[in-house]
Amino acid sequence: MTGEQRFEAAVRRDGPALLGYLTRRTDAPEDAADLLAEVFATAWRRVADLPPGDEARLWLYGIARRTLANHRRGRVRRHRLAARLREHLAARADGGDDPDDRVRDALRALSDRDREVLTLTAWEQMTPAEIAVVLDLDPGTVRARLSRARARLRAALEKADARAG
């Protein structure tokens, strides 16, 4: 399989999940289109490093995570190549799901570290071992971090319920 074929296969298989990952973490869904364009560009530039099989998915998540961090550090770059996807996501958002503000507020109150492991497990449905690859951490560290983060989320939600009730 050539690098081109491996890249095509990986983005075809994991593209929607990566788009979901970025959409859930950006304020404007259409920003996710530009970030995904950046992820694809980085992955294509480094296609020689693209690992085989399921590791490719985690490798792409690693790139997506760093792209997102860069995005938070500065402004999102508008990609000409992402115009079609951007327009579609913007239109989709108009009739999209309504997020649960109570949970989102509780999530927002957590630290970046807690939020990251929680959302990777809840939204991306990753195992601690997979999260460890994406975050470049020891799996034991991820498990401990996840356990603490779940407890903090539970406490934050209980606090919100007590305030509301």
């Binding site: 929607p16 079609r84 939600l157």
Partner: protein, 221 residues
């Protein structure tokens, strides 16, 4: 419903819904195809272009015709905006003003970043893009200072297993900017030394300087 279920339900966009949307799939395929094409085109076209140039040169030489008043070659145009301006600062920072719009900037950044460690998988792309703004100039000490600041933010955002070694390496980093008489110009930001040696200091530094607070430091003109 427990907190974990609630968290899952709070995801704005489900991957299944995205994967099932034919327009999303088509747009993703198009994006992937165009990404590959955009990066492939210059390399693949290089050979035919060189061949065409060689053929043209052969024809021109064969008939002994030389045109002196045609368009200026790219190399000549690029020399019109050198990186080094020959203008040095006065006072505390005597380093040279660099032309950030110069085509010489990428090579300069290659050298300047080579000694600065970054977490694996991260790169300098975002910083390079910020520097590359045509027509603006920045003093060399500021360019080098921003490279270290950017690395510190990257290590804070992606604290991999190599972080302690990297911070140690960064403590040994010294600027190489020189003044008008060849003397090394020291950086003007002594606060930058602390986060380079200490993870707690790095966290405090990052809270003030990284994330949404990130800006290129130093005057531009």
């Amino acid at each position: 419903m427990n907190s974990y279920d609630e968290l899952r339900a709070a995801a704005r966009t489900g991957d299944g819904a995205l994967a099932a949307d034919p327009e999303v799939r088509a747009a993703l395929d198009e994006l992937a195809g165009r990404t590959m094409a955009a990066r492939r085109t210059p390399r693949r076209r290089a050979v035919p272009i060189l061949a065409a140039a060689a053929a043209t040169a052969a024809v021109l030489c064969g008939v002994a015709v030389l045109q002196h008043d045609g368009p200026r070659p790219a190399a000549v145009t690029q020399r019109a905006s050198p990186l080094r301006t020959g203008t040095f600062g006065g006072g505390a920072d005597g380093s040279e003003w660099l032309n950030l719009g110069s085509p010489g900037l990428p090579a300069y950044l290659d050298d300047a970043t080579a000694r600065v460690p970054l977490p694996s998988g991260t790169g300098w792309t975002a910083l390079r893009r910020q520097f590359a703004s045509d027509g603006e100039r920045m003093q060399e000490t500021s360019v080098q200072l921003n490279i270290v600041r950017y690395a510190l933010c990257a290590w804070h955002d992606h604290p991999g297993p190599r972080i302690d070694n990297a911070l140690k390496e960064l403590t040994e980093w010294r600027p190489t900017a020189r003044g008008a008489h060849g003397e090394i110009v020291p950086p003007r930001d002594p606060d930058l030394l602390r986060p380079r040696a200490d993870r707690a200091a790095l966290a405090a530094y990052a809270a003030a300087q990284c994330g949404t607070n990130w800006r290129l430091a130093g005057a531009r003109r």
